[in-house]
C-alpha cells in the first residue's frame, strides 16, 4: 500500500498507509490527522481538506485543473492559498504518489 506523509499544523510528520484509489483526504481523516476536516466527505462543498503539496512532489501531483470547480473553490480556503494548494479530496492515490509529502495548513475554517 502506498504511504503518505502528512505534516500536521504542529509540524509533526505522520506516515500513513493509504489504499490505492483513496483520496489524500480520506487517508488523513481515517488516521485522525489533526487539522484535517474533510467535512463534506469529498463532495467539493466545504473546502476543509486544504493541503500544501511539498515542493519536491508538486510536479508529480500537479495543480488543480484550470477552470475546474476545485480551482475556483481554492479561493475560499481559510489559510493562505499558495501555488502548492490543493483540496486533498481531489487527489487520489496511485503508485506514483507512494511517499508523497503534504502539509496540513494551520486552519480549515
Amino acid at each position: 500500500m502506498p504511504t503518505v506523509n502528512y505534516i500536521d499544523p504542529a509540524g509533526i510528520q505522520h506516515e500513513v498507509e493509504v489504499p490505492l484509489g483513496q483520496s489524500l483526504m480520506e487517508g488523513a481523516v481515517r488516521d485522525g490527522i489533526v487539522g484535517m476536516l474533510g467535512e463534506c466527505g469529498g463532495n467539493l462543498s466545504c473546502v476543509t481538506c486544504h493541503v500544501y503539496i511539498d515542493d519536491a512532489w508538486f510536479d508529480r501531483v500537479g495543480p488543480a485543473l484550470e477552470g475546474s470547480l476545485e480551482e475556483e473553490l481554492l479561493d475560499n480556503v481559510s489559510a493562505e492559498r499558495l501555488p502548492s494548494s490543493r483540496l486533498s479530496c481531489q487527489i487520489h492515490i496511485g503508485a506514483e504518489l507512494d511517499g508523497v509529502v503534504v502539509r496540513v495548513p494551520p486552519r480549515q475554517t
Binding site: 481523516v29 485522525g32 489533526v34 467535512e39 463534506c40 466527505g41 469529498g42 463532495n43 467539493l44 462543498s45 466545504c46 473546502v47 476543509t48 470547480l69 475556483e72 473553490l73 479561493d75 475560499n76 480556503v77 481559510s78 486552519r107 480549515q108 475554517t109
Partner: protein, 415 residues
C-alpha cells in the same frame, strides 16, 4: 430482501422521551439496527455515525423532497395563494437542489460564507456580541429578574449578525428573527397546531416582501454587503435567476437563525449543567474552537435531516427502495459509541472530534464557518460576562420538532 421493523411501542418519533432525550431514544433504534424501518413514520431511520455519514455523502439518496412539500402545503392550505408563493420560493432553495444545478448555485452562494470571507468578519461578530451583552446587562439593571436567554440573547446573535452582513438595519433584526422562528413550524416538521401553520405562512409572506424590497433597494443603491454582491452576480449574467436570488436571501436569513440560536442556548444549558466546563470557559483554559466542536456534537441543534432514497440499494443488511423516505438522525450519529469514546460525556477538549452536526455531502452546511464563529464568540463571552448565571429549571422543555433539538425557553437568572 430484508427489512428490520421497529416494534410498535418504539415508533413515535415525538414521544415525550424521544423529545426529551433523543440520544437515548435513538440509541435504542441503533441497538436494533443502525438502519431500521419505522412503520408509523413509514420510512428508514439511520442512527449510526457510519451509516449516516455514508448515506449523506454518497449518491444513494436525494434531497429533492420538494414535491412532498408541495403536497403538504397545498393540502393544508386548501390551494390558497400564499401556499403557492411559499412553494415557488422554497422550490428554489439550494437545500432541495440536485447537481448540476446544486453545484452551480452552491459556488455562486459560497463566497460570502466561505472560511476565507468569514475569517474577515471576526471583528464584526465580536463587536455585535459585545453590544448584545452590554444591552442585556443594561436590561437586567433596569429590570432585575429572570430572563429567557433563548430570546433575549441566543436569538439575537444570529439575527443581528446576518442583518449586519446583509446590510439590514439593527432595528429590523428582531423582525427577521421573529419571522424565522414562525417559519420553523412550517418547515422543520412541527406536528398539529393548524393555526400556527397559518401564522407561519403569514411570516413567510412578510419575509418575502421584505427581501424583495431590500433587493430592489440594493440594486438601486449598492453597498458592500452580501445582498449587493449577490445582486451584482445576478445582474452580471452568471446564471443566477431573480427567483434564486430572492429565495437564497430568505434561506440564509431563516437557515442560520433557529440553528445558531439553538446551538447557543443548548450550549449555555450544557455549561450550566457541567460546572467543570463552566470553570474552563471562565478561566479560558480551553480553546473556544474546540469547545464549540464539542457543543455541536453533544447538543447540536439539528436533530435529524430528511432524504428520499434515490435508488434501490442495500445498507446495514436492509433493502432500501427508490422513493422511500429516510431520516438521518445527526443527534444519534454524534453520540454513537462506535464512533466516540464516552459519547454521552461533555469533554470540551475532545480530539479527534468528527461530529456530523453540519451534515455532510454536497449539502453540508454552507453557513458552517459563520455559525462556528458566532458560537465561538457568543458562548465563552457570555460565560465570562455572567460567570454565575443560573438556569432556573433542571428539567427544561424541548420543542417537539422532528428535525430540531431546541428549547422552548431558557429561563435564567443572569449574574
Amino acid at each position: 430482501m430484508s427489512k428490520t421493523v421497529l416494534p410498535d411501542h418504539m415508533t413515535d418519533l415525538l414521544s415525550p422521551v424521544a423529545v426529551k432525550d433523543p440520544y437515548m431514544y435513538f440509541g435504542k433504534y441503533r441497538e436494533i439496527s443502525p438502519v431500521v424501518w419505522n412503520p408509523q413514520w413509514k420510512g428508514w431511520i439511520f442512527t449510526s455515525n457510519a451509516t449516516v455519514r455514508e448515506g449523506l455523502a454518497g449518491d444513494t439518496m436525494t434531497s429533492d423532497r420538494i414535491t412532498r412539500f408541495e403536497d403538504q402545503l397545498t393540502s393544508r392550505a386548501g390551494g390558497d395563494q400564499n401556499a403557492d408563493i411559499i412553494y415557488r420560493t422554497m422550490v428554489q432553495w439550494i437545500v432541495y437542489a440536485t447537481p448540476p444545478r446544486h453545484t452551480h448555485l452552491r459556488l455562486l452562494l459560497s463566497k460570502p460564507f466561505s472560511p476565507r470571507a468569514v475569517k474577515n468578519q471576526k471583528a464584526v461578530v465580536e463587536t455585535i456580541i459585545a453590544e448584545l451583552l452590554d444591552e442585556l446587562e443594561q436590561k437586567i439593571k433596569n429590570k432585575p429578574g429572570p430572563v429567557d436567554l433563548l430570546r433575549e440573547y441566543a436569538a439575537q446573535v444570529p439575527a443581528r449578525v446576518i442583518s449586519r452582513l446583509m446590510g439590514i438595519p439593527d432595528q429590523d433584526a428582531a423582525k427577521l428573527g421573529h419571522w424565522s422562528e414562525e417559519l420553523t413550524l412550517l418547515i422543520l416538521g412541527a406536528m398539529g397546531a393548524e393555526d400556527r401553520h397559518s401564522r407561519a405562512k403569514e411570516a413567510f409572506i412578510e419575509l418575502e416582501n421584505y427581501v424583495r424590497k431590500m433587493v430592489a433597494a440594493r440594486r438601486k443603491n449598492p453597498g458592500t454587503d452580501l445582498v449587493s454582491d449577490w445582486v451584482a452576480a445576478r445582474d452580471s449574467n452568471v446564471g443566477l435567476t431573480e427567483e434564486e436570488l430572492i429565495s437564497s436571501c430568505i434561506l440564509v436569513i431563516f437557515g442560520g437563525h433557529e440553528t445558531t440560536m439553538n446551538l447557543i442556548a443548548n450550549s449555555l444549558l450544557a455549561v450550566h449543567q457541567h460546572p467543570a466546563a463552566r470553570q474552563a470557559l471562565i478561566e479560558g483554559s480551553v480553546d473556544s474552537a474546540m469547545a464549540v466542536e464539542e457543543f455541536l456534537r453533544f447538543c447540536g441543534p439539528t436533530r435529524s435531516i430528511l432524504r428520499d432514497v434515490a435508488k434501490d440499494h442495500e445498507v446495514a443488511g436492509q433493502t432500501l427502495r427508490a422513493g422511500e423516505r429516510a431520516l438521518f438522525v445527526l443527534a444519534a450519529a454524534n453520540q454513537d459509541p462506535g464512533a466516540f469514546e464516552d459519547p454521552g460525556t461533555l469533554k470540551l477538549d475532545r480530539s479527534p472530534n468528527r461530529h456530523i452536526a453540519f451534515g455532510t455531502g454536497i449539502h453540508q452546511c454552507l453557513g458552517a464557518p459563520l455559525a462556528r464563529l458566532e458560537a465561538q464568540v457568543a458562548i465563552p463571552e457570555f460565560v465570562r460576562r455572567f460567570p454565575g448565571y443560573r438556569v432556573l429549571t433542571e428539567d427544561p422543555e424541548w420543542q417537539p420538532l422532528l428535525m430540531t433539538r431546541g428549547l422552548k425557553a431558557l429561563p435564567t437568572e443572569v449574574l
